[in-house]
């Protein structure tokens, strides 16, 4: 991109001044931009100008390497010649297509019309509305009846519809040769596909034998969301003298339950009410993106982050984050403090010291035992040990914010980075804080989600020991992949070799399946029945949205079959049910139906429950706190100074979770919200540590600890503590499938099981540069704003003074009215527009995946992302401000701005992109010839070009995921956001049937629909009363790059941070107000 040196307009922003003049940018993409060199060095300038990385040689190589299913260029000419001859001489009409109607059309199906089913995702715990077309689900949306998430879904659930059609799924039962006592897959082993009859025979025989030999049968599953399913498995294992059911997950929250048991005697995970918290402190919990039900959390959190109108009386919650990694939650904090991995307990207790000892909060202030423990954790001592930014003032500020909102505040901690050796102690400290702040029963509901006895790492360790001693006859594994997710030190793989019969119920032939005797095709959750308790008195039903695609059977159904065929002594409920569906119905009749006490028969209740998906009983909304035993505090460890060194923090990436969805290409290509890196994990190193170790981005380092060694590429991440590094789990799968194999590196070896706990973070590691390089595929650097004012953020104090502070409508930034060459557009009917509230946007990326699912956006692969060819129509740009040691973050969702004076429209030689009379910038695929002039001319870089026939990667069943309402684009076609024009057309059809206009709120784009914080608003700006119109006239509203006068139809609302100094906080340091330049 050329720098507009010869811009005729005076009064430009300082950043638009002459090249060669260095002005530190207010918002920056990477720390490089803060150096003068970056803006003046000729070499860097030239490299930066290469926006599209077009090197013809590479392109041809890529065609040959990546697009083997397509045509190489030479073949293309041959085929062109041949097809030309054929069209000319045979003069053929279009190919003959067949229409194959239904034999008996299901009554509810109308071809061409969508049918919605309410169901539930047990993987992420979110209630769903599944859109099906002609019997196949194509898009998942949040169930709007679940009012705690407002119809939102996380990126992982959005993408799970692709898992359903994964062509790498196991289709039939598989039997493997495995010699008991020998580790790993045997060379002489066989792999044969068998039928279910044989499966039932083999398993029944083994179970019958097991009954005779003492009944050592174990069922090992992932954490089950469905209590009914857990009940069935429990009843199944009860049929054996020594049967047991163990559940585990890397993302489980057992430490919270253990701490709760210590402080209140209840082994449960409470429910958090973020929507009620005026002051919020998170110690390592990434609740906005990866911890708990993230969309529900974010929906609640945003309730206290909205600014509606009246600046003078505006209020925002106060939000502090102390964390070792850099998470989405940290990026949204008002004050984020980098800590070392493993400092969570010290932070929590330092805050407790400030509240209880210094401010004499609660009766515990006179409990000498409590005081003596806390005295070791004085804010000054802890801050000095950790090297906190702002020193002790940071802890004091957090404490005072909590104190100021006593009873309406919340302290949370959790997730992998907090699962240190002190994980339970940290949670005890968090319970202490919430107790003295009187948050129990207010922002914390402590009467939900008790853990089952089998949900325990101690039980898992016991199981492994039993397996090792050869005491387990039959092991049935489902919904878990222990051979991958458990660290080698746990000895699971070795233990597995001593088990008589290993049955793995799995959707893929994964790491564990390869070590099992039987691999049974599992159903996807969209093919299965189930239920869940979402909250107190709120239940969700999970129903199949289609019949199983393959010959799959759920574990529950299998257990019912095996229990009977093996002649086990089953419960009456199990005997009465032939399928899990029947069992589930009977269970609901006995429990939820009674709890609801509804009038009408059970069948009526069942039908209506299936229709709505979420059922509420009178219990819903009831809230109660837990008690607190002060004796638990006395057991907390004393303060210990830690040796200098580098501490490792593991975390679960927003896209990858624990790695179960590794074969999902949408998730692999979803850029990480903070680093924007796709397809791999990487070691995040803070800028000062990088300098110390002489590391730059893409350097490969050897990370080692206790004999574990992993090579990882380095990513220099601003805002990471100098003594801490972090890396995501869930990558480095060996047998995930064709997509997931070979993405990133497995770092679970750094975790270990010890004394009933799964410890992930906080251990010391060594980081050694090995002199190799690895090219990480990141997206943000593909587009540089060249230091132009593209985004805006201010503090609450500034907002109160002037809500339009620095938001580009400042007179010195506004261009004088420039005469244009074109006549003005007139919009008589609708005029579509959008607004995006940057204060609410958390950057979670759910919209990116929702858009991908809705609009048939292809996946391009790692190599193509490296050369800037990703296809996402909406991307989340992340900008930093402040110091690289502790930056603030603002997310800018960037999509086609549907400009009134669109620069793309004027350069298209074939009029493939034109302006509609409803304000849409239309892209007509069948007209596009692929000159890419429009892409070159787009100031926002939102036009994406199909360099290859990327759609061909959707092989086999995968192409069933396409949305039939949107054209699948071929090679050589430009595409970009359409404002979901297919949804506009659909809404128009509906409204015309009703004989009126589309009402505000009736029509939602895919990104808007899934946004958990309702940051995106879409509607008719010709309608003065619509929400989007109101947002457009909000004083905070600004247009991105307004100075270039392209007149975007998207208004962004300035991000406002609650950074004003607190009256009694005594934090010396206050952020200087950002000005321009």
């Amino acid at each position: 991109m050329e720098h507009p040196v010869e811009q005729p307009v005076k009064q430009m922003s300082p950043s638009e001044l002459k090249q060669g003049e260095f002005i530190e940018p207010r918002h920056w993409i990477g720390a490089e931009e803060l150096t003068e060199n970056y803006w003046t060095d000729a070499k860097i300038l030239e490299k930066r100008g290469q926006e599209f990385f077009d090197k013809p040689v590479e392109t041809i190589e890529m065609i040959e390497r990546l697009d083997t299913k397509g045509f190489a260029r030479r073949d293309f000419m041959t085929i062109m010649g041949a097809s030309m001859a054929m069209t000319t001489f045979a003069c053929a009409r279009r190919p003959v297509h067949k229409i194959i109607p239904y034999v008996v059309k299901p009554e509810e199906v109308t071809p061409g019309e969508a049918l919605y089913y309410a169901t539930y995702s047990p993987e992420t715990g979110e209630p769903i509305l599944a859109k099906t077309r002609e019997g196949r689900p194509i898009k998942l949306e949040g169930n709007p009846d679940f009012s705690r998430a407002g119809g939102a879904l996380s990126a992982r659930t959005q993408a799970s519809v692709l898992d359903l059609y994964d062509p790498d799924r196991v289709t039939d039962p598989v039997r493997r040769g495995r010699v008991v006592g020998q580790v790993g897959v045997q060379k002489a082993g066989f792999r044969t596909v068998i039928d279910w009859k044989e499966v039932d025979q083999v398993v029944s025989e083994a179970l019958t034998k097991a009954v005779a030999s003492g009944g050592k049968v174990r069922v090992l599953t992932g954490e089950l969301k469905s209590a009914t399913e857990a009940k069935l498995i429990h009843e199944f294992v009860l049929a054996f003298a020594a049967g047991k059911h163990v559940e585990f997950s890397a993302l489980g929250n057992e430490e919270i339950a253990l701490a709760s048991e210590e402080t209140s005697g209840q082994r449960l995970v409470p429910h958090y009410h973020f929507e009620k918290a005026d002051a919020l402190v998170s110690i390592g919990a990434d609740f906005l993106a990866t911890w708990g039900n993230a969309s529900e959390n974010a929906f609640g959190w945003s309730a206290k982050r909205k600014l509606e109108g009246k600046p003078a009386t505006a209020e925002l919650s106060k939000f502090f984050v102390f964390e070792s990694g850099f998470t989405v939650t940290g990026a949204n904090a008002d004050q984020r403090y980098p800590i070392r991995a493993g400092d969570e307990l010290a932070i929590a207790l330092a805050i407790a010291h400030e509240l209880i000892v210094v401010n004499k909060l609660s009766s515990l202030a006179s409990d000498s035992q409590v005081v003596s423990v806390l005295n070791g954790y004085r804010a000054e001592v802890v801050a000095a040990e950790i090297g906190l930014a702002d020193g002790a003032a940071s802890i004091k500020a957090a404490a005072h914010a909590l104190l100021g909102s006593k009873g309406k505040s919340l302290v949370v901690s959790g997730g992998l980075s907090t699962k240190t050796v002190n994980a339970v102690a940290t949670q005890v400290a968090v319970n202490l804080l919430n107790h003295v702040l009187e948050n129990e029963g207010s922002t914390i509901n402590g009467v939900e989600r008790p853990l089952r006895p089998g949900q325990s790492i101690a039980e898992l360790q016991k199981l492994i020991e039993e397996m090792k001693s050869g005491a387990v006859d039959v092991l049935i594994i489902q919904g878990a992949n222990p051979a991958y997710s458990l660290p080698a030190s746990a000895g699971f793989i070795e233990a597995l070799s001593h088990v008589g019969l290993v049955v793995c119920v799995s959707t893929h032939e994964n790491e564990t399946a390869l070590l099992s005797d039987l691999t049974l095709p599992d159903v996807h959750f969209l093919e299965n029945w189930g239920d869940a308790k979402l909250a107190r008195g709120v239940y969700a039903l999970q129903q199949p949205t289609l019949a199983p695609i393959h010959r799959s059977r759920s574990l529950s159904d299998s257990l019912l079959v095996w229990g009977k065929s093996a002649g086990l002594k089953l419960s009456a409920e199990m005997v009465a049910s032939a399928t899990f569906h029947e069992y589930l119905k009977a269970e609901w009749k006995a429990t939820v139906y009674k709890e609801v006490g509804s009038i009408g028969t059970f069948e009526q209740f069942w039908e209506s429950s299936l229709r709505v998906g979420v059922v509420k009983t009178a219990e819903a909304g009831k809230i109660a706190g837990r008690s607190f035993k002060a004796s638990a505090v006395a057991k907390l460890p004393a303060f210990k100074s830690r040796a200098d060194g580098i501490y490792l923090s593991l975390y679960s990436a927003v896209s990858m979770g624990d790695g179960a969805q590794a074969n999902n290409a949408w998730l692999q290509e979803m850029p990480d919200p903070i680093s924007t890196i796709t397809w791999d994990n990487y070691l995040s190193v803070g800028p000062s540590l990088a300098k110390k170790l002489n590391l730059v981005e893409n350097d490969v380092v050897e990370v080692s600890s206790d004999g574990q060694k992993v090579l990882l590429p380095v990513w220099v991440q601003p805002g990471i503590h100098p003594s801490s590094v972090s890396v995501a789990i869930g990558f480095g799968r060996r047998n995930a499938g064709r997509v997931g194999n070979g993405t990133g590196w497995d770092v679970l070896g750094f975790s270990h099981l010890s004394a009933g706990q799964w410890v992930f973070s906080g251990g010391p590691v060594e980081v050694k540069k090995i002199g190799r390089k690895y090219n990480l595929a990141k997206t943000q650097w593909h587009h540089t704003s060249e230091n132009r004012p593209i985004v805006n953020d201010i503090t609450l104090a500034e907002y109160k003074r002037n809500p339009a502070t620095a938001n580009h409508t400042d007179p010195h930034l506004r261009l004088p009215e420039v005469p244009t060459l074109w006549s003005e557009h007139r919009y008589k009917g609708y005029r579509w527009g959008m607004s995006i509230d940057l204060s609410s946007c958390t950057g979670c990326g759910a919209c990116v995946v929702a858009c991908q699912a809705e609009n048939n956006i292809p996946v391009v692969g790692r190599d193509n992302v490296r050369v800037s060819r990703e296809m996402h129509w909406i991307r989340i740009d992340r900008y930093y401000s402040g110091s690289p040691e502790r930056p603030d973050v603002v997310f800018l969702p960037m999509l086609c701005q549907h400009c009134e004076n669109a620069p793309c429209e004027t350069v298209c030689p074939v009029l493939a992109t034109v302006h509609s009379d409803e304000g849409l910038n239309e892209q007509t695929y069948n007209r596009c010839v692929g000159t890419r002039y429009c892409q070159n001319n787009c100031p926002y870089k939102v036009r994406r070009f199909n360099f290859f026939d990327h759609w061909k990667a959707y092989e086999g069943t995968a192409n069933m995921v396409w949305n039939p309402d949107v054209t699948v684009r071929t090679r050589g076609i430009m595409e970009k956001c359409t404002f979901c024009v297919q949804r506009i057309q659909e809404a128009k059809n509906k409204s015309k049937e009703m004989g009126g206009r589309i009402k505000d709120g009736q029509l939602k784009t895919a990104c808007q629909q899934t946004c958990p914080t309702e940051a995106i608003v879409f509607g008719d700006i010709n309608d003065r009363r619509s929400e989007v119109s109101k947002n457009h006239s909000d004083p905070r509203a600004f247009k991105s790059l307004e100075v270039i006068n392209v007149k975007p139809v998207i208004s962004y609302l300035t991000k406002v941070r609650n950074k004003e100094p607190m009256a009694h906080a005594g934090t010396g340091k206050h952020e200087t107000s950002p000005g321009h330049g």
Binding site: M80, S83, M84, A85, T87, T88, R93, R94, V96, H97, K98, I99, I100, P101, Y102, V103, V104, K105, T110, P111, G112, E113, V914, S916, D917, E918, L920, E922, T924, Y925, N926, R927, D965, V966, T967, V968, T978, V981, Q982, Q985, N989, K992, E993
Partner: protein, 192 residues
Amino acid sequence: MVSSQLKLGLGLGLAFFVLGAGAFSYFPNVSNQDYEPEQPMPFSHKIHAGDNKIACMYCHSAPEKSRHSTIPSMNVCMNCHTVVKADSPYIKKLQEYYKEGRSIEWVRVHELPDYVYFPHKRHLARGLVCLDCHGDVKTMERVYQFSPLTMGWCIDCHRGKTTPKTVVAQMFPGKKNYQGPVATVNCSACHF
């Protein structure tokens, strides 16, 4: 010896032929008007819709509520043909298919490219009738494509040039002999 003029002529002719063929293959925008493929079963619309006056939408259900006007499922055929003409060899075949749970693979007559979204329901709601685009199907022994179904043909109607008078009158009740456009010609009306 071939004269240089002849050479030039031949060369030019070849060049035009190649260019023309190229253009033809690149823009396969030829109309399929009058396309009348043979069907796997000699279904006669004349007998069904003409002689027996069965309404179009008895079999082709849902054009008023969907994008598509569908080919009837086998159970619709069997509504009558369990009894009617049950001894005909074709009907026997039909019944056999139905019992086996198989479907008849009809050859598609009316087809728009994948990048065109044509909703039947919007057009029916405006007062167009089947006949306007599909021709007088009730006289057809074997169905053929009556209209060109090209983009120009669509646009002409949207601009009001070829719109049936009844439709115009219904849309603009106050205006006699209205001549202007009747529907949108935005690209995104049909292409997305």
